[in-house]
């Protein structure tokens, strides 16, 4: 309520006005807020890739037959592998692995070629450095792919499998036919950016008023809790949406991510999602007293949400309990929705469940922030 409850919107407007005055006064921060997403998006989208190139492969060819050479040629022709050395001694391979020169050893034992010709099958072995389990897994997939395509030509060579399966698989990649990694990552990274900026800015702002003591002066005014929270929320909502727009432009024209869905829907979802993020930031700010505390708590929550968001590791491969946790993870919901809308052209009918969940979180968090914000202390 305003002073007589007559002009509640006016008071909110004045708070928003004041916030923008402060935001625009802090030029360095403003430049950072606007530039950071662009820089991060470019860096992250190029760097955070699942695709692995130039896997260092050491080849131990104890056979030296035409057949073994044919297989090795396949690896050297692949962009995924880089052959860093050959030997005919098995221990040389171990040495390369132990000294960290190679991450993978392909071992072709003696008589590989002869066995292949005579029995129609020949075992080869692969050893790899699996310290980074995730990369190791992908690398072994590539390895299998090469062996498999080689098999298809030979119809014979085996890699530790018993029956020569000859099921022809045709893969058709929907929505992302070239398996363009950036089309998949960029929307997700965009989500992270507005999450971090939105969540931290809103939280820090209120706590800063506490630290500096200005909240004391505000609290003795007739500003109501709701006005205060809405007044704090709106500027950062606008700022985050501006940032989001920057990111979208970059996604569309630089990364050429397809925009299948409606732009209006994308903004509707982003605004709803920002309610959640800003609400969380404000809630944290109401229970903390210093910016340090607020940063710690916000960071803690966000790191968990981000890691379990499905951006870097697929949710389907998480243990059951972690998959249940993603229900409570707004970032996971938003990444899921935005990918579906941008890449598959989903409309509101397709995503209404996720949208409803986001909306519910937003309302709950903002409500909690308003309820928790105390103008007087006990």
């Amino acid at each position: 309520m305003s002073i007589d409850g007559r002009y509640p919107m006016r008071t909110i407007r004045f708070i928003i006005q004041k916030e923008f005055l402060q935001i625009f006064r802090n030029r360095l921060m403003l430049a950072f807020i606007l530039l950071a997403p662009v820089i991060q998006l470019v860096i992250l989208a190029y760097a955070a890739t699942f695709e692995i190139r130039n896997i260092d492969l050491f080849v131990v060819d104890q056979d030296k037959s035409p057949e073994s050479r044919a297989l090795i040629d396949r690896f050297s022709a692949s962009e995924n592998f880089r052959i860093i050395g050959y030997s005919d001694v098995e221990s040389a391979g171990d040495h390369a692995l132990l000294s960290n020169d190679a991450v993978m050893i392909l071992n072709l034992p003696p008589h590989t070629g002869r066995n292949l010709v005579r029995d129609g099958r020949a075992p080869v072995s692969l050893r790899l450095d699996a310290v980074d389990g995730f990369s190791a897994n992908i690398a072994s997939q590539y390895f299998l792919q090469i062996i498999q395509s080689h098999n298809e030509e030979l119809g014979s060579m085996q890699w530790k499998a018993d029956s020569p399966a000859h099921i022809g698989i045709t893969v058709s990649r929907w929505y992302n036919p070239e398996l363009n990694y950036q089309s998949y990552m960029v929307p997700g990274i965009l989500v992270l950016l507005i999450t971090v900026i939105g969540g931290f800015l809103s939280g820090m702002n209120v706590v800063r008023e506490k630290e500096i003591g200005t909240i004391e002066q505000l609290n003795v005014t007739p500003i109501s809790k709701t006005q205060f929270i809405i007044g704090k929320l709106t500027p950062f909502m606008i700022l985050a949406l501006v940032m989001f727009s920057f990111g979208l432009l970059l996604a569309r024209f630089w990364f050429e991510v397809p925009f299948e869905g409606s732009l209006g829907l994308i903004y509707l979802i982003a605004a709803t999602y920002l309610l959640v993020v800003l609400g969380l930031g404000l809630l944290v700010s109401t229970i903390t007293h210093t910016q340090q505390q607020a940063i710690f708590i916000t960071w803690f929550v966000f790191v968990i949400f981000i890691l379990l968001s499905g951006l870097f590791t697929p949710i389907d491969s998480m243990p059951d309990w972690a998959q249940y946790l993603t229900w409570a993870n707004p970032i996971a919901w938003f990444i899921d929705i935005i990918r579906r809308v941008m890449l598959t052209g989903a409309d509101l009918r397709d995503i209404w469940v996720s949208y409803f969940v986001l909306m519910t979180y937003g309302i709950l968090l903002i409500g909690a922030a308003i309820a928790r914000y105390r103008k007087s202390a006990a």
Partner: protein
């Protein structure tokens, strides 16, 4: 009565910040709350401004209960916290405008209230509040607290950390505001500012020791007070403290303020005693007690110990 406080108590865990404080402030009065740091002045003001909830007792401002009618309270008080609480990154003008607008008024509408004060900082109106000097910050804070035309002004140690000239100016401004009919509640650790109030309450460790006019407070000092001086201050204090007839003694700058426990005390007796103890240039003079003497003497009675008056370290200019 504009402000009525009844038996207010507030504890922070083990610490008893207020131990049953009661007083009244009449409409249009300039009421001072005087006491050392930790006396409970800020706690009391935070309760009166509805920023803090008391544990027990009740307080009313303009007939509104500070707990039940806090919304009304926030419309009618102007509060200046002890710490500078305006937006340092906003300019003088922007701060003033902001506080006017959130009270649904404008600077123009109430300009006559702050004209005297504001015209002094008006030349710097485009300067950021954070870049103002201490005295100017106080003037801006006072302007912001007044801009919505409050019924009562509550100022928490407004002159702490402000230079002597600005302090005097500040009190002159308060006097003018009081003359315009505003009720003012002000706290200060400076004893010499007591004389600028209509009435003062002496406060120490969560209790009000005495409420009176500044002159009345000095009159409460029941025994003749002597200022004692000698060549060696420390030796003088030591000797006085071990003197069997000493009722109270505390340092007061260069002097020792002394009261004697005998009714037929003659200052000459003390002078000869001190000289016998080897002190030189001894002077003993009867003086009029000030508010500080009363406060220290009241505090001394409370705690049954001899208090070092210099502990305040803030005995004026």
């Amino acid at each position: 009565m504009t402000v009525t406080v009844k038996n207010l108590t507030k504890n922070y865990g083990e610490i008893k910040a207020l131990k049953g404080v009661s007083f009244d402030v009449a409409s249009g009065e300039l009421f001072g709350l005087i006491g050392p740091d930790g006396a409970g002045k800020t706690t009391l003001f935070r309760i009166l401004t509805s920023l803090l909830l008391q544990d027990d007792g009740e307080a009313k401002v303009h007939g509104f209960d500070v707990v039940a009618d806090y919304r009304e309270i926030r419309k009618i008080i102007g509060y200046m916290p002890g710490r500078f609480s305006l937006y340092q990154d906003l300019t003088v003008e922007e701060n003033l405008n902001f506080f006017a607008t959130i009270f649904n008024t404008t600077v123009e509408e109430n300009y006559q209230l702050i004209r005297d004060i504001y015209h002094q900082i008006a030349p710097f109106k485009t300067r950021r509040a954070g870049d103002l000097s201490g005295g100017m910050k106080q003037k801006l804070a006072l302007s912001c607290a007044l801009i919505h035309k409050p019924e009562i002004l509550i100022l928490d140690e407004p002159t702490t950390g402000v230079d002597a000239v600005s302090r005097r100016e500040f009190w002159d401004m308060l006097a003018r505001l009081r003359a315009s009919g505003l009720t003012i509640l002000v706290s200060t650790p400076y004893m010499d500012e007591a004389s600028r109030c209509d009435r003062v309450a002496l406060m120490d460790r969560g209790k009000i020791l005495s409420i009176n006019t500044p002159a009345g407070i000095s009159d409460e000092f029941s025994r003749p007070l002597y200022a004692v001086k000698a060549d060696r201050r420390y030796q003088l204090l030591k000797t006085l403290r071990s003197y069997p007839y000493t009722r109270s003694v505390f340092t007061f700058g260069e002097l020792a303020h002394y009261t004697d426990s005998r009714d037929d005390f003659d200052p000459e007796m003390l002078r000869s005693h001190l000289e016998q103890e080897g002190l030189r240039d001894v002077r003993v003079e009867l003086i009029n007690p000030g508010v500080e003497d009363t406060l220290i003497s009241l505090m001394t009675t409370e705690s049954e110990s001899i208090v070092d008056g210099n502990k305040f370290g803030k005995s004026g200019e």
